[in-house]
C-alpha cells in the first residue's frame, strides 16, 4: 500500500468520531432524499400498474336513467373503445353494534362477477353468485375497519327498502383507491363503504331493470377527451345526464393525483433542504478539518508532492467519509422509504406495492453530497497549498486579538478573565463563528420545517371545524326537497337548531379556465355554518353574486367584480353568468357560496334544499342517528366530531412518522455540526488550553472557556434557526397547496420548543464528549512540540 494511502487509513481511524459525525450528517441528507423520492416513485409505479392491469376507465358519466340499448349507440361514438353501463346507488347501511351513520356507494357489476372496466381485485372470499340476490363484495378497507369476513351480514336501505346483505368477498378497485365520501376531506373507512352487487340483483332492488344510471368508458388511443365528453353529454342529456368527466375529475383519482402532487413537492423540497444543509455543513466541516492539517500539507509539498497530489490525497480521505455516509443513507433511506410506503398503503388502497429504488435518485443524492464535499476539500487544500511551504510550516504568528466591543464600552470589568477569552475569541474570528452559528441554526430550522405540519393541520382543522363549520351534523337528502323538510328535522328529538342549504354541482368557467365543483346556497343570518374572511371574521352570504374560496379564485384567475360562467350539472342544466363579489378564506376544499334564494332563482326552481345543518343535544345523538338512518329521503348524515377524529386517524400515522424521521435527522445534523465544531476548535486550541492548565487553571475553568463559546454559539443560533425554520415552513406550505387543502403557515411555540430541545440536547451531548477529551489533555506533549 502506498505510504499516502496508509496515512489516509490511519488519519481516518484517528478522526473516526468526527468522521462518523460527518458521515451521519451525509447519511441523514441522503436518507431523506432516498426515502421520499423512493416512496414517491414506488407509489407512482404502483398506481400506474394497478390502473393499467385493472383497466381503470378514462371517462365517467352519471345520469338519471337510460335504457340498456343506449349503450350500443355510445359504443359507436368516435373515440370510445369500451363501454360498461352500471347501476350506482347511494345507500345507508345498518351495521350491527355500530350506532354511527354509515353510508355506502353500491355499484353494480355484471352477473358474471367480472367487470370489463374498473376490474376488481378480490382479496378475500370470492366474487358474487348470480343466483343469489343478496350477495355483495365489500371494499377491503371497510371490511377491515369492521372486521368483516366473507359470510358476515349487515343491513342496508336500498331505495327506501331494507335488505339483508351477505358478504361474498372483499375487494379493491382502481376506481376507489382513495375511498372518500364525496365532499369529505379524508377517507373514512368506518363510515363509508363501497359495495359491489350483481347487476340483476341491484337493478331489481333499485328499480333499474333494463336500465342504467352510470357509465364507464375507455378511450381509443389518440382520442380527444373533450370531444368525447361533448358527444357523450349530447346523447345523455335526454336521459338526465349529470355531466360526463374524465379521469382527472374522478374523485379517487383526483384525490390521489393531488396527494401525490403534494407528496412529490415534499419529496422535492425536504430532501433538497436536507441535502443542501448537509452539503453546507460538510463543506464547512471538511474545510476546517483540512485546515488543521496545514503543516502536514506543507511538509508533503516540501518533499515535492504537487498541489494536485495533495488535493487528491485529501479528496480521497473525504470521499471515504462521504461514501460511508452515502451508503448508510441509502440503506437507511430505502428502509425508511419502505416503511413510509407501507403507511401510505394503509391510506391508498392498492392491492400490491411495487417498491423500487430509483437509481437516478440515488445517484443524484450521491453526486450532490460528493460535489459539496469535494468543493469544501478543494477550497481548504487550495488555501493550504497557496501558502509557500516555509510559511505554512512556521508556527502561526500569535493571533491578533483586541479588546472586544463589550470591553471597549467599559463593561469589561463585569467579565471574568475566562469570559473575556470567550468573547475575544468569538470576535477575532467572526466568519468562523458565523459559519458555526449558521450550521447549528440550520439544524434547528430543519427540525421546525419537518414538524410544523402538525401545527398547521391543527390550525386548519380548528378553523374549518370550530370557526366555520359549527354544526354537529350535516344531513343530505336523496333529492332536492322543499323547505318544509326543515320543520320535520326540527321536530326530531334532540335537534336544537337546524339550517338548510342547497348544494348544486357546477362547472365554473372564467376566461379559458374551468373548474368542476359545487355551489352551496345558505340562508343569511345562520349561525351554524360561517363563511370567513382573511382575518377569520364571519361573513354573511352575499345578497347577490357569488363568493369563491380564495384558492378557487386563484385557480380560475377570477377576482371580485369579474363575471363567472356557471354551468349547472343537474336538472335543467342551465348556464348562467354570475358576478364574483368576494373571496372567502377556506383551507379545505374549493367551492362557491351564494345566498340560498339567489341560488334557487339561478336554478329556476322553487324553495328547494339539498340538506341541513343540525345542532344536536349530545344526549340524544345516538337516537338521532337511528332516526335519520330510517328516514327514506335522508341520503346520509355526517357527524362533525367523527370527521375530525377520522381526519386525525388517517393523517396521524403518516404525520407522526414524518415528524419522527425529521427529528431524528435534524438531531443527527445538529449533533454532527456541534460535535465537529467542538472537535475542530479543540484541535485548533488544545495548546492554548493546555497552557492555561499548566498555568494553574482547573479543568472546569478551561472547560468553561471552551464550552462557553460553544454554548454561546448554540444559544445564538436558536433564534436564527427559528427564523429560517419558519421561512422554510412558509415555502413548504406554499409549495404543497392543492385543490384538496392549503396548509396555513402556523408554527406553534411547542414546535419551536421541540426544535430548541433537540439542538440543545445534541449540543450538550457533544459538549460532554469533548469535555472528556479536555479532561485528558496531555499537558507535557502539547507544550513540547512547538516554540
Amino acid at each position: 500500500m502506498k505510504a499516502l494511502d496508509q496515512k489516509l487509513r490511519r488519519d481516518l481511524w484517528k478522526m473516526k468520531g468526527q468522521a462518523l459525525a460527518i458521515a451521519l450528517v451525509i447519511a441523514s441528507g441522503v436518507a431523506t432524499f432516498v426515502m421520499l423520492i423512493g416512496t414517491m416513485h414506488s407509489l407512482n409505479v404502483t398506481r400506474d400498474r394497478f390502473y393499467q392491469d385493472y383497466r381503470f376507465g378514462d371517462v365517467f358519466a352519471p345520469l338519471k336513467r337510460a335504457p340498456d340499448s343506449l349503450a350500443e349507440r355510445i359504443r359507436e361514438l368516435p373515440g370510445i373503445a369500451y363501454v360498461e353501463t352500471r347501476v350506482v346507488a347511494d345507500v345507508k347501511l345498518d351495521i350491527p353494534n355500530f350506532s354511527e351513520p354509515v353510508t355506502a356507494k353500491l355499484v353494480s357489476i355484471p352477473d358474471s362477477g367480472d367487470p370489463l372496466l374498473n376490474r376488481l381485485y378480490i382479496r378475500r372470499g370470492r366474487s358474487i353468485d348470480p343466483a343469489k340476490d343478496n350477495e355483495v363484495i365489500v371494499s377491503e378497507a371497510f371490511a377491515e375497519a369492521h372486521r368483516f369476513s366473507p359470510g358476515d351480514r349487515f343491513g342496508a336501505v336500498i331505495n327506501g327498502r331494507r335488505k339483508r346483505l351477505v358478504i361474498a368477498g372483499t375487494a379493491l378497485s382502481p376506481e376507489f383507491v382513495l375511498q372518500a365520501r364525496p365532499g369529505a376531506i379524508s377517507p373514512d373507512y368506518r363510515r363509508y363503504a363501497i359495495l359491489w352487487m350483481g347487476r340483476t340483483a341491484l337493478g331489481t332492488a333499485y328499480n333499474m331493470d333494463g336500465a342504467f344510471n352510470d357509465l364507464v368508458a375507455t378511450l381509443e388511443p389518440g382520442a380527444v377527451l373533450d370531444d368525447v365528453l361533448l358527444r357523450l353529454d349530447d346523447i345523455l342529456d335526454t336521459y338526465g345526464g349529470l355531466g360526463s368527466y374524465g379521469r382527472a375529475d374522478q374523485l379517487s383519482n383526483r384525490f390521489l393525483t393531488e396527494e401525490f402532487k403534494q407528496l412529490q413537492r415534499s419529496a422535492e423540497i425536504f430532501p433538497t433542504v436536507f441535502i443542501a444543509v448537509a452539503a453546507f455543513l460538510l463543506n464547512v466541516v471538511i474545510s476546517r478539518t483540512v485546515s488543521t492539517q496545514r503543516e502536514q500539507i506543507a511538509a508533503l509539498k516540501a518533499f515535492g508532492y504537487s498541489n494536485l497530489a495533495v488535493g487528491v490525497h485529501y479528496i480521497k480521505l473525504v470521499m471515504l467519509i462521504v461514501l460511508i455516509g452515502i451508503a448508510g443513507g441509502i440503506a437507511a433511506g430505502s428502509r425508511l422509504g419502505q416503511g413510509l410506503a407501507n403507511i401510505y398503503m394503509e391510506f391508498y388502497r392498492f392491492p400490491f406495492l411495487l417498491y423500487e429504488l430509483r437509481l437516478a435518485a440515488v445517484l443524484t443524492a450521491a453526486m450532490i453530497t460528493a460535489a459539496a464535499a469535494i468543493a469544501g476539500t478543494v477550497y481548504a487544500v487550495r488555501k493550504a497549498v497557496l501558502l509557500p511551504p516555509a510559511e505554512a510550516m512556521r508556527p502561526e504568528p500569535p493571533a491578533q486579538y483586541r479588546r472586544t466591543t463589550i470591553e471597549r464600552l467599559g463593561l469589561g470589568r463585569l467579565l471574568s478573565q475566562p469570559t473575556r477569552i470567550v468573547f475575544r475569541n468569538i470576535e477575532r474570528r467572526p466568519f468562523k463563528s458565523l459559519l458555526t452559528v449558521t450550521g447549528i441554526s440550520l439544524a434547528c430550522a430543519i427540525m421546525i420545517a419537518g414538524t410544523f405540519s402538525k401545527d398547521a393541520v391543527d390550525f386548519m382543522v380548528d378553523v374549518q371545524f370550530r370557526l366555520s363549520q359549527r354544526e354537529d351534523m350535516t344531513v343530505t337528502f336523496t333529492d332536492p326537497v322543499s323547505r318544509k323538510a326543515l320543520y320535520e328535522l326540527k321536530g326530531l328529538q334532540g335537534v336544537e337548531h337546524a339550517e338548510v342549504f342547497r348544494s348544486v354541482p357546477v362547472r365554473m368557467r372564467y376566461e379559458h379556465r374551468t373548474y368542476r365543483t359545487s355551489i352551496r346556497g345558505m340562508d343569511p343570518g345562520g349561525h351554524l355554518h360561517y363563511l370567513l374572511d382573511r382575518q377569520l371574521t364571519p361573513l354573511e352570504p352575499p345578497p347577490d353574486g357569488i363568493v369563491l374560496t380564495d384558492y378557487l379564485g386563484f385557480l380560475l384567475g377570477a377576482r371580485p367584480g369579474d363575471l363567472l360562467t356557471i354551468e349547472v350539472l343537474e336538472g335543467e342544466r342551465p348556464v348562467r353568468q354570475v358576478p364574483v363579489v368576494g373571496l372567502v378564506n377556506q383551507y379545505i376544499g374549493l367551492m362557491g357560496y351564494m345566498d340560498l334564494s339567489e341560488l334557487n332563482r339561478l336554478m329556476r326552481e322553487g324553495h328547494a334544499v339539498s340538506g341541513a345543518y343540525l345542532a344536536a343535544d349530545q344526549l340524544y345523538q345516538a337516537d338521532l342517528y337511528r332516526t335519520l338512518v330510517q328516514m327514506p329521503r335522508v341520503a346520509g348524515t355526517v357527524v362533525r366530531q367523527d370527521e375530525i377524529r377520522n381526519f386525525y386517524d388517517t393523517q396521524a400515522e403518516a404525520l407522526l412518522f414524518f415528524t419522527y424521521i425529521a427529528s431524528l435527522l435534524a438531531g443527527t445534523i445538529a449533533f454532527g455540526v456541534v460535535y465537529n465544531s467542538a472537535r475542530i476548535s479543540l484541535a485548533e486550541r488544545s495548546r492554548e488550553l493546555a497552557s492555561l492548565r499548566v498555568l494553574g487553571y482547573t479543568r472546569a475553568e478551561i472547560s468553561y472557556i471552551f464550552l462557553g463559546e460553544l454554548a454561546l454559539f448554540t444559544l445564538t443560533s436558536l433564534p436564527l434557526g427559528f427564523l429560517i425554520g419558519r421561512g422554510i415552513a412558509a415555502y413548504v406550505a406554499h409549495a404543497i397547496e392543492s385543490d384538496l387543502f392549503r396548509v396555513p403557515v402556523v408554527v406553534e411555540p411547542r414546535t419551536y420548543a421541540l426544535a430548541a430541545t433537540v439542538v440543545l440536547v445534541s449540543a450538550c451531548l457533544s459538549g460532554l464528549i469533548v469535555r472528556r477529551k479536555l479532561d485528558h489533555l496531555n499537558l507535557v506533549a502539547v507544550l513540547k512540540t512547538k516554540e
Partner: protein, 250 residues
Amino acid sequence: MKDSGTVSMRGKGEQETAVVFRTIGLTKVYTMGAVQVHALRGIDLELYAGELVVLLGPSGSGKSTLLNILGGLDTATGGTVFYRDTELTRATEKQLTDYRRFHVGFVFQFYNLIPSLTARENVAAVTEIAQAPMTPEEALGLVNLGERLDHFPSQLSGGEQQRVAIARAISKNPAVLLCDEPTGALDSETGVVVLEALDQVNRRLGTTTVIITHNADIAGMADRVIHLSNGLISEITRNIAKKSPQELHW
C-alpha cells in the same frame, strides 16, 4: 527546470567546483500586520557541489529565510537565485514542485514527520515519488535506524525522529540537502549522532549539504562557514581542518 532530465546530478569529484546555488542581491521582506521585517537585505552567495556549508547566525539573522528560498519553499522579494542553470526566482509552481521532488532533501528543526505513518512509511512517502531513490530500509540503515522501521513517530525519541527525517531527506539521493537547525531540539549527545548522519551522507554520497545553526561549535564540521547577521553575510570562513562530529562539544 525546463526539464528535470537536463539538470542531472553530477557525481562527486567530477566537477568539485561546479556552482550549485548562486544568489544575486537576494532580498526578502515580510509584512506582519503593520510591521515590515527585512529578513534578507541583499545576499550574494555561491555554493559548490559536494561541499558541506554551515549557515551560522543568531535568531532573526535571516538564515532560515535564505534556506527556504534556496529550497523553493519560499519566494524572494527581490534579487535572483540560480540552482545550476535554472533561475528559481522565476520558476513556476510546477517547476518548483519538480525541483523539490527530484533535487532537494529537507531536514526541519521540528522533524515534520507525518504522525500517522511509521518510520519506514514516512520515508516511503518520499521514495514513492522520487526518481531512482534508495529503498526506505537502506535510507534508515544509513542513519542507523534499521531496527526501528515500524515505529511510529510518537514511539521514537527526538533524535530518532530527526534521523528518520534525515533518512527521508536523503532517500531520494538529492543533489542538495538543506537542514534547518537539525539539532535545535536535541541535547548535545543526540545532536552529535544526527550530525554524524549528515556528515556521512555528505561524504558518502557527495550531497551538497547546507546546515543552519546558531551554534558556533557545529561550524567546525563544515567546509565553509557563512556568517549571517541582520539579513546580510558578515563573513565567510573556510575550515582548513574539518572536525568530525564526534569532536564537537557544546
